[in-house]
């Protein structure tokens, strides 16, 4: 299977300050380091699950930098790190994977299902494509209320074959809502290659059928991702309606820790492709940051990760009484009764 990088539409890169480019590269490298650590922890049985963004870091970080803090993110599996860019605490973020007391989600979500109201990143389900109609609906609501926000719904390539994609795109087209629908096309819907799950493999073309502008961008080029996303977000903000952005990338790792791609694809190709298209290496080559400076930065970050992992792993689990919280504004007698039974314990 060939992934033609050349096929990606050339986007005029914005005049990105070098410090921003450097910061993007650092955040990509941090994301990769977090993924590596969480996968190791999963293999050791210390966290239950992880889905990594290995090789797709430019898609995640490029988008993160293109959005305003007030914009809403409706993520899929690999966009958690946008929260970190938005200033979410690393400790609280990693606590989610352990489901420990510091986890803002109180251990209720599957590991790697990061979200927080504090950074406008919405809780997501593992089901494919759920979040894109939600993003469109939220955008409709935002316009109705006159809020100056853009709603961004993320999906993988597989989601474009789901019914939710049709609903989302139909309403995005009809309502001309302030949203950007981003497809991180990594060529694999778990074990299903793109060309076997859809005939229209140039996914950006699907948008035309809904009257939505579709664009394709090289997902390995963080500057290009940033510029494409910034343009789409600006358009949405200024009343220009929705954009469907296809970020062309490749899933270098397994779909998740429950997957083993060597049984269904040629990993020699993966290795070769990654060697030629590593987004971090490309950013360094493009002069974003000196390799040595990045290495120093990563050494510092590793120490930070050591400290945070040690701390969150040592934490207690959320108290049992938390399972009765957060559903009712006013707790009914049946839950109050149970909370009273639980409270003397833990």
């Amino acid at each position: 299977m060939a992934v033609k990088r050349a096929a990606a539409k050339k986007i005029a890169k914005s005049d990105l300050p070098r410090e921003t480019f450097a910061q993007m590269t650092i955040e990509m490298a941090r994301l990769r380091r977090i993924d590596e650590r969480l996968i190791n922890l999963q293999r050791q049985g210390r966290v239950g699950f992880h889905g990594s963004a290995l090789g797709e870091e430019a898609c995640v970080i490029g988008c993160a930098f293109a959005l305003e803090p007030r914009d809403w993110v409706f993520p899929a599996l690999r966009q958690g790190a946008i929260m970190l860019h938005r200033g979410f605490s690393l400790e609280t973020y990693l606590a989610q994977s352990f489901g420990c007391a510091a986890d803002e989600l109180k251990g209720r979500q599957m590991p790697a299902h990061f979200s927080s109201r504090s950074v406008n990143q919405v809780s997501w389900s593992s089901c494919i494509g759920n979040q894109i109609p939600q993003a469109v609906g939220a955008a409709f609501a935002a316009r109705y209320r006159g809020d100056d926000v853009v709603c961004v719904g993320f999906m993988g390539d597989g989601a474009t074959s789901e019914a939710d994609f049709h609903y989302a795109m139909t309403f995005a087209g009809v309502w001309k809502v302030p949203c950007v629908l981003v497809c991180q096309n990594n060529q694999w819907a778990i074990s299903e290659p793109l060309e076997r799950q859809t005939v229209v493999t140039e996914l950006w073309k699907k948008a035309q059928a809904y009257g939505v502008e579709g664009v394709r961008c090289d997902g390995q080029d963080v500057e290009a991702v940033h510029a494409t996303m910034r343009r789409a977000a600006d358009k949405a903000r200024s009343g220009g309606g929705a954009t469907f952005v296809e970020l062309l990338t490749f899933r270098v790792g397994p779909h998740s820790t429950s997957d083993d791609p060597s049984v269904y694809r040629d990993e020699a190709f993966t290795k070769k492709w990654f060697a030629e298209n590593d987004p971090i290496a490309r950013a360094i080559a493009a002069g974003a940051i000196e390799a040595a400076a990045l290495a120093d930065e990563m050494a510092r970050f590793d120490k930070e990760l050591d400290r945070v992992f040690a701390k969150v792993e040592a934490m207690e689990l959320p108290s049992r009484s938390t399972m009765l919280e957060d559903v009712y504004a006013k707790m009914p007698w049946s839950l109050r009764e149970q909370q009273a039974e639980l409270s003397p314990k833990r």
Partner: protein
């Protein structure tokens, strides 16, 4: 200190993994996150990095061996002093209320890096916490009840603290609340009267599973416990005395609203009293459901194995059944004579030893029937030993002990062995050896013999002989109608391997031998 790395659930719901390759050996010094081993599960092959730095002291599995999730696979000496003794696994402290069906996983050392995120570990932890809380120092019992049951208790004015839960983990069920509301009365059911087997001509000690028969619950620890927890301990031996309800089961006071969950109704009170035992019982033994309800029990234990084996047999073997009527008048006479002579030895031959001996002669002539099928390898396995299984009905269901080398044993020996084996399986004392290794099976319907049943082959055997009641009936001998002892013999064969003609010849041979037992003795 020695650190043991416990194999975590490295997929979602993985239970075991094969050690594909060790990347380290005893004596190696490893760094944290250095690859230790490659493990292949049914989902993926993954490399497992070391959670600790240290020196490898022991590998618990060889390459190619399968390790269960939760078992230590490698020991690493992490240096330094032994830390404070690890807390005993919480589950071990759990009182016996915790059901034995969820044993705590073995934990050698509980360390910081124990795989608490693995699904098994977390669920055990949850169980352990719940159980511990049951013996909280306050002495107050923790209440486990669903919202619907809590609502019911509130409506009925029942204090949940005073209700003994009979559900899983001591959960309080709808019935528990209703029972309490009625003054703690035990709702019971009356078993149908025990249908004692009538002594008839065949007197075979074996009965087929199609026979309806009252069964009593088997002794079950869990069940005993439940009874005790209500201060109502009884011996659930083979012949328990059942407590009759002091009053008939009460009508339901008010219909729950339609939108309320009614799941508890799936477990009627009677079932909760003796659920494990009942699960073993045949459906005909279950209490009649109360009006408007249905009775559901888990299919498990022996019943589950029977269910699986029967399904495997019927869905694999191409059954056909061949039936013939045997005139056993001479055999009936011969048996009477023989038993007269054996009376001094206090032994009485049933028909079964004669039938077995006839089968020996016939099986020698038709070795294709004394055989097994190995479907996994696509092979047909003819056996030299003649080991005949005999179907025995037990309280828990059908079992088939095997009489070995039938050709080498005397009739008396066979009779004794049949009796011993039948008693052993009824007491559930038969060994695996005594329950396996058959090459042919005989199922005798005994007293209830009936006219015709179609026996299910004891797969992977290829044939089974069913014996029906032997009764006095009119028969034509010469030109006259006379009274003779007649009985139907029905044999099922796996038509994939045994053609109709061979099956018919085999039965004709058994018939010839039993109708004229002198030939049987000549040919033995």
């Amino acid at each position: 200190m020695a650190y043991q790395f416990i194999l975590p659930d490295i997929g979602e719901g993985v239970v075991e993994g094969e050690v594909v390759r060790w990347h380290v050996k005893p004596g190696d010094v490893v760094k944290e996150d250095q690859t230790l081993v490659e493990i292949m599960t049914d989902k993926a092959t993954v490399q497992i990095p070391s959670p600790k730095a240290g020196k490898v002291s022991k590998l618990f599995f060889k390459e190619g061996e399968v390790a269960k999730v939760g078992k230590a696979i490698i020991e690493i000496d992490t240096g330094g002093e032994a830390s404070a003794p690890a807390p005993a696994p919480a589950a071990e402290k759990a009182p016996s209320r915790a059901p034995d069906s969820t044993p705590p996983p073995q934990r050698v050392e509980v360390s910081r890096t124990e795989p608490r995120a693995s699904f098994e570990a977390t669920s055990t932890q949850a169980v352990a916490q719940g159980s511990n809380a049951l013996v909280a120092s306050t002495g107050e019992r923790e209440i486990l009840a669903t919202p619907a049951v809590r609502k019911l208790a509130r409506d009925e004015g029942v204090e949940l603290q005073k209700v003994a839960g009979t559900g899983p983990f001591g959960r309080i069920t709808r019935e528990d609340v209703l029972r309490q509301a009625q003054g703690g009365q035990v709702i019971s059911f009356t078993p149908p009267p025990q249908a004692k087997a009538q002594t008839t001509q065949t007197e075979a000690p074996v009965r087929e599973n199609v026979q309806a028969r009252t069964q009593e619950p088997r002794r079950e620890d869990r069940q005993d416990h439940r009874q005790e927890s209500r201060g109502n301990s009884r011996d659930f031996g083979r012949e328990p005395v059942r407590e009759e309800p002091r009053d008939p089961p009460p009508p339901r006071r008010e219909e729950p609203r339609r939108d309320e969950p009614r799941r508890d109704e799936m477990r009627p009170a009677a079932q909760q009293q003796s659920q494990p035992a009942q699960a073993q019982q045949q459906s005909s033994q279950l209490p009649p459901p109360r009006p408007g309800q249905e009775t559901r029990v888990q299919i498990r234990g022996l019943r589950k194995r029977i269910s699986e084996k029967m399904h495997q047999s019927k869905s694999t073997a191409a059954h056909f059944t061949y039936v013939d009527e045997f005139d056993l008048t001479d055999l009936v006479k011969l048996r009477e004579q023989v038993n007269g002579k054996l009376a001094a030895q206090k032994i009485k031959l049933n028909f079964l030893p004669f039938i077995m001996k006839a089968c020996v002669v016939a099986l020698r002539k038709f070795p294709a029937i004394n055989a097994l099928v190995d479907d996994a390898r696509g092979e047909y396995v003819m056996k030299s030993d003649i080991n005949i299984g005999i179907a025995v009905q037990t309280d828990d269901g059908l079992m088939v002990p095997v009489v070995r080398n039938v050709d080498q044993k005397s009739m008396v020996q066979l009779q004794r062995e049949i009796e011993t084996l039948s008693e052993k399986v009824r007491r559930r004392q038969a060994t695996q050896q005594e329950l396996t290794g058959g090459s042919f099976t005989i199922t005798s319907l005994g007293a209830l013999g009936g006219m015709l049943a179609t026996p299910v082959i004891n797969y992977p055997e290829v044939a089974i002989l069913g014996v029906h009641a032997i009764k006095k009936k009119p028969a034509v001998v010469g030109e006259q109608v006379v009274i003779r002892d007649l009985g139907n013999f029905a044999a099922s064969f796996d038509h994939r391997l045994i053609d109709g003609y061979i099956g018919a010849q085999f039965i004709a041979e058994v018939k010839r031998l039993l109708e004229d037992p002198t030939t049987l003795f000549l040919e033995l």
